[in-house]
C-alpha cells in the first residue's frame, strides 16, 4: 500500500529508484519487466524512453481547476494539500485499516509512490463534497499538465461525505509524460457519478491510477472515456466495496496508433455488494488495446453480484486486442458472470442495412455509432433541451479519431 508522506525536501530520486527496480544499468536501457502479471501485456520499454526524456526536461505538477459551476459550496471545497492541514481524515489514513489489500506488484507500487512523492503538496488537490449535500450542477474538474515536455505528476482526491450526491466531470489533459492518481472515497450512503475524459491534443504517455473505496451502501457510477491518438498508457482502476456498496463502470477506449491497457480490479469485501462493468474497445491503425477485468469475491461474503461485459471492435490495419476478463470466487453465495466478444463490424449487419437503402459507408457509420452509443447513453442522461458539453466533446473526439462524421 502506498503510504502518503508529503515531503517538502529530500524527495526520492525517481531516476535511482526506477533503475534499481528495473535493474537497468542506466535509464536508456529499454526492456520490459515481463514477470509482473499486470504488466504482462504492457510494453514498459515504450514508457521508459519518453519518461526519461521528460524527466530530463524537468518535473512539474499538474494543476487542478474547477469550472462549470457557480455553487460556492463546491468551489470552497476544492483545496490543495497545502491548504488542508488535517491529512488524517483523508482517504488513505481512513481506509488503510480496513482495506482488503489491493495487491500491487512492484512496478505499480513504484509508479504510485512516484506520483505521490513527486507531486508533493503542490500537486495534491482535494475536492470535498459536504455531508448530505446534493449538487444540482455538474462541475468540471480539470487536471492539466501545464508545462510542455516536462514530467508531470498529480494526485487528486474526490472525497464524498456521508449521504452526499454529486455528478462530476473529470477532464484530464496529460502532458508528454505523466503519472497520476485519482482517489475516490465514498462515505456511507453517498452517491458519486464520475465522468472521466482523457483529452489530449498531443501524444502522451503515462501511468494512471483511479482508486475507489466505497463504504457501506454507497453508489458509484463511472464513465471512462479513453480517446487516444499516439498514446502509450497504462490505466489501473481499482475498487474496494463494502457491504451493500454498488459500483458501475461504463467505458470506451478508441485508439489510433495507441497502446492503452485498462486494468480493472474490483474487490467485493462486503455482503451484497454489486459491481457492473461494461467496457468497449475499438482499435485501428496499429493500435493495441488491452482489457483486464478482475472481479474478486472474498471468502465469507454473502449475496454479492459481479457482472462484466466486454465488447471489442477491430477496425483494421495491424491492430490487436487482448481481452482478459477474470473471476476469483471464494464463496458459493454469489451471482457472477462475464462475457467478452471481439470481432469486426459485421458484414451481415452492413448487408442488412444496405438492403434497406443505405450505402456501405453510411451503414458502417451507423454501426460504428451504435457501438459507442449504448455506453454513452448509459453514461449521460438524455436531455434534448440541455445538450451536455462533455458528451459533445466526446463525440467530437471520437469523430476526429475515426476520421469520419458519425454523430447526428
Amino acid at each position: 500500500m502506498a503510504k502518503i508522506t508529503i515531503q517538502k525536501k529530500n524527495r526520492v530520486n525517481p531516476f535511482e529508484e526506477l533503475s534499481a527496480l528495473l535493474k537497468m544499468p542506466g535509464l536508456e536501457a529499454a526492456y520490459p519487466v515481463r514477470t509482473l502479471e499486470p504488466w504482462r501485456r504492457f510494453d514498459p520499454s515504450k514508457l521508459i524512453q519518453p519518461m526519461t526524456e521528460s524527466l530530463r526536461q524537468g518535473m512539474a505538477v499538474s494543476r487542478v481547476t474547477l469550472a462549470d459551476t457557480v455553487d460556492s459550496d463546491l468551489k470552497s471545497n476544492l483545496h490543495s494539500a497545502s491548504q488542508w492541514k488535517n491529512l488524517d481524515e483523508l482517504f488513505l489514513q481512513k481506509a488503510k485499516n480496513n482495506l482488503k489489500l489491493f495487491e500491487k506488484k512492484e512496478a505499480c507500487e513504484f509508479f504510485e509512490n512516484l506520483a505521490v512523492n513527486s507531486a508533493g503538496e503542490e500537486g495534491l488537490s482535494i475536492l470535498r463534497i459536504p455531508k448530505n449535500k446534493s449538487f444540482e450542477e455538474i462541475p468540471t474538474v480539470e487536471i492539466s499538465a501545464p508545462e510542455a515536455g516536462k514530467f508531470h505528476s498529480g494526485v487528486f482526491y474526490l472525497y464524498a461525505e456521508e449521504s452526499s450526491k454529486a455528478t462530476i466531470n473529470l477532464v484530464k489533459k496529460s502532458g508528454a509524460f505523466d503519472v497520476s492518481i485519482v482517489y475516490v472515497y465514498l462515505e456511507k450512503n453517498s452517491e458519486v457519478y464520475l465522468r472521466y475524459l482523457d483529452e489530449n491534443n498531443q501524444p502522451s504517455q503515462g501511468v494512471h491510477f483511479v482508486k475507489y473505496f466505497q463504504e457501506e451502501n454507497s453508489h458509484s457510477k463511472s464513465g471512462i472515456y479513453s480517446l487516444c491518438a499516439s498514446d502509450n498508457r497504462k490505466v489501473f482502476i481499482e475498487n474496494n466495496l463494502s457491504q451493500k456498496a454498488q459500483a458501475e463502470y461504463m467505458g470506451i477506449f478508441l485508439g489510433r496508433r495507441a497502446h492503452v491497457d485498462h486494468d480493472f480490479s474490483i474487490v467485493h469485501n462486503g455482503n451484497y455488494s454489486v459491481s457492473n462493468l461494461l467496457f468497449k474497445m475499438s482499435v485501428m491503425d496499429q493500435s493495441y488495446g488491452v482489457f483486464w477485468g478482475e472481479a474478486d469475491i472474498v471468502a465469507g461474503t454473502q449475496g454479492c453480484e459481479a457482472y462484466q461485459q466486454n465488447k471489442n471492435l477491430i477496425l483494421g490495419n495491424n491492430s490487436r486486442i487482448d481481452a482478459i476478463p477474470r473471476l476469483n470466487i471464494h464463496t458459493e453465495n454469489v451471482v457472477a458472470a462475464h462475457g467478452s466478444a471481439t470481432g469486426e463490424i459485421s458484414e451481415e449487419e452492413i448487408f442488412y442495412m444496405m438492403s434497406r437503402g443505405l450505402g456501405y459507408a453510411e451503414a458502417r457509420k451507423l454501426l460504428l455509432r451504435g457501438f459507442f452509443e449504448d455506453v454513452l447513453r448509459r453514461s449521460f442522461e438524455h436531455d434534448d433541451d440541455k445538450p451536455d458539453a462533455l458528451l459533445e466533446k466526446i463525440w467530437t473526439n471520437i469523430q476526429t479519431l475515426l476520421g469520419v462524421e458519425i454523430s447526428t
Binding site: L313, G316, P325, R326, E332, A336, G339, A341, T342, E344
Partner: protein
C-alpha cells in the same frame, strides 16, 4: 439415456457401507515385485541406463541426455500451484521400473499377480470384441498388449511407445517431439529424458477406426513417477478415438505424473482423445498435451479431471491449416485438498479455422479449481470463429473457483471470438422443487450435479459415462451425507 437412469436406481439402492467398500476398490496396491528397480533420483547415468535397457537407437539416447540437461536448466513455473510445484522432491522419485521380463500377447501369458490388479481395475470387462486392441501399462513398462487382427489388416499401428521405436523407427523419428520440444517447459524436458511407455498410434490414410482404443495406467511402488509418452498420428482423412483412463492407489508420499501427449492430425482427419483422470489425492499430475491440426482436420480433447492433489494441464490445439477445428470439453472436480488448474489453449494460425471450449468445474470442501485458457488469433488468420464457455458450480462457501481466460486477437477480417463465464451454486429453490416431488435431498443434489456435467458425460463411451457418474456420486457422498 436409460442406462444413466439405471445407474441412479442402483445408487439409490446402495447404502453408505457399500460405497465405502467401493472407495477402496481403487485404493490398493500389490506387494512389489520387480525384476529391476532403478535408484532414486535422476542423473545423466540413469538417463543413459534407461536408454540402454530399452536398447534404443543413438538418436534417442542423445535426445534423452539433451533433454535432461534442459530439465536441469529450466526454472519452475511461477504460476499455477506454485507452492505445490516447489514442494516436489525430484531426488526422491524412482524414474524407472520394469516388472517382468518381456511383453505378453494374450491374457493367459500374463503373470497372475498383475492379472489380478487388472481384474480389480475392470480391464477384462474392457477386453471385449468391439473394443479393439488394448495396451495396458503397468509400472512404466507395457506388460500386455494385443493388436486385433482387424486393426492390423487396416494397417493401423497401435502399440506401446517402446515397441514403436523398435518396430517403426523411421515413422517415430519423423514425428517424435515435433509438437512438444523438450525445451517447452520443465516437465516436458523431464518427460523427454525419462519417458517410458505410453501409446503410439498411426492410422494410414482414408481409414476410420470405428472402435475406441484404450490404455490403462497405474502407479504402484512408493514415489513412482509416471512418464509416459503418447504420439498419435492420423494420416489424410482418417479417424480415431483414443481413451486414456487411469487410477492410482493411495500412498503417504507424493507421486509425480508428468506425461507428454502429441497429436498430429493430417488433412481431413479427426482425432478424439478422451481422458478421465482419477489419480489418488497425493499425485502431482503435470501434463503437456498438444495437437496440431492441418487443413480441414479436427481435434477434440475430452478431458475429465477428478483426482490428484495438483493437476496442471492445458490441452492445446494449434490450427495450422485452413478450415481446421479444435475443441476442448473439460470438467474438473476439486474436493478437499485438491487443486485443479486446468484449461485449454487454442491457436488459430490459419484462415477459416474454428474452435470451441466448454469447461465445467465443481468445487467443494475447500477445493480449488482454476480455468486457464488462451485463444489466440494470429494476423492473417481471417474468418476464424471461436467460442468459449466456462461454468463453475460451487458446492459450499469454503471453496475457490477462478477463471482466467486470455484472448489475444490480431486479425479482424471475418473474425469472431466470444467468451462467457458463469458461477453458480446448487440453488435452495432447485432443491426444494425436487424434494417436493419426493426426491431426497442427496439424490436431488446428485441429479443437479450430473445435469451440470452432462455435456461432458454425453461425449464419453457408455461405460466411462457410468464410471464417471459413479465417481462423482462417490466424491459427493461426503458433502451430501
Amino acid at each position: 439415456m436409460s442406462d444413466t437412469e439405471t445407474t441412479n436406481t442402483d445408487l439409490k439402492n446402495k447404502n453408505k457401507a457399500d460405497f465405502e467398500k467401493e472407495d477402496y476398490k481403487y485404493g490398493f496396491h500389490d506387494a512389489e515385485q520387480f525384476v529391476f528397480k532403478s535408484e532414486r533420483g535422476l542423473t545423466e547415468d540413469i538417463v543413459r541406463n534407461i536408454s540402454k535397457i530399452k536398447n534404443e537407437p543413438q538418436w534417442m539416447t542423445d535426445f534423452r541426455v539433451e533433454s535432461y540437461r534442459i530439465f536441469l536448466e529450466k526454472p519452475m513455473p511461477n504460476w499455477g500451484d506454485v507452492k505445490g510445484l516447489n514442494s516436489i522432491d525430484f531426488d526422491s522419485i524412482y524414474y524407472y521400473l520394469k516388472p517382468t521380463g518381456g511383453q505378453e500377447r494374450s491374457w493367459d501369458d500374463v503373470p497372475e499377480d498383475i492379472k489380478n490388479t487388472f481384474e480389480k481395475l475392470g480391464i477384462p470387462e474392457a477386453e471385449q470384441k468391439f473394443l479393439g486392441g488394448v495396451t495396458a501399462q503397468y509400472e512404466s513398462e507395457v506388460v500386455y498388449h494385443s493388436i486385433r487382427e482387424d486393426l492390423e489388416k487396416l494397417g493401423v499401428i497401435f502399440t506401446d511407445m517402446d515397441s514403436a521405436l523398435r518396430e517403426h523407427p523411421d515413422l517415430v523419428k519423423k514425428f517424435f517431439s515435433t509438437i512438444i520440444p523438450p525445451g517447452d517447459n520443465k516437465f516436458a524436458a523431464l518427460n523427454s529424458a525419462v519417458w517410458s511407455g505410453g501409446s503410439f498410434i498411426y492410422v494410414p490414410p482414408d481409414t476410420d477406426v470405428a472402435i475406441p482404443l484404450q490404455a490403462y495406467f497405474r502407479i504402484n511402488a512408493k514415489n513412482m513417477g509416471q512418464f509416459e509418452r503418447t504420439l498419435i498420428i492420423t494420416d489424410k482423412n482418417s479417424k480415431v478415438h483414443y481413451i486414456e483412463g487411469c487410477t492410482a492407489p493411495t500412498y503417504s508420499t507424493d507421486s509425480l505424473h508428468s506425461a507428454v501427449v502429441e497429436l498430429i492430425a493430417m488433412e481431413g482427419s479427426t482425432i478424439r482423445y478422451s481422458t478421465i483422470q482419477n489419480w489418488s489425492n497425493n499425485v502431482y499430475n503435470l501434463v503437456t498435451k498438444r495437437a496440431v491440426a492441418y487443413e480441414n482436420a479436427r481435434v477434440e480433447w475430452v478431458d475429465g479431471n477428478i483426482g490428484s492433489k495438483v493437476t496442471m494441464k492445458y490441452p492445446a490445439v494449434y490450427l495450422m491449416g485452413k478450415g481446421a477445428h479444435g475443441e476442448v470439453l473439460s470438467i474438473a472436480y476439486a474436493g478437499k485438498g485438491q487443486h485443479q488448474d486446468a484449461g485449454a489453449k487454442i491457436v488459430h494460425a490459419a484462415p477459416g479455422t474454428t474452435s470451441s471450449i466448454l469447461s465445467k468445474s465443481l468445487t467443494k470442501d475447500g477445493g480449488q479449481s482454476t480455468y486457464r485458457g488462451l485463444i489466440k488469433v494470429h494476423k492473417n488468420a481471417i474468418n476464424c470463429k471461436s467460442s468459449v464457455k466456462c461454468d463453475a458450480l460451487m458446492l459450499d462457501n469454503k471453496s475457490t473457483s477462478a477463471t482466467y481466460p486470455y484472448m489475444e486477437i490480431e486479425e479482424e477480417r471475418g473474425v469472431r471470438v466470444n467468451h462467457e463465464a458463469t458461477v453458480s451454486k446448487v440453488d435452495d429453490d432447485m432443491l426444494f422443487f425436487m424434494t417436493s416431488r419426493g426426491i431426497s435431498e442427496d439424490d436431488a443434489k446428485g441429479m443437479v450435479i450430473n445435469g451440470f456435467i452432462e455435456p461432458f458425460t454425453r461425449e464419453l463411451p457408455m461405460e466411462y459415462a457410468v464410471e464417471l457418474n459413479r465417481l462423482i456420486q462417490l466424491e459427493m457422498q461426503g458433502a451430501i451425507g
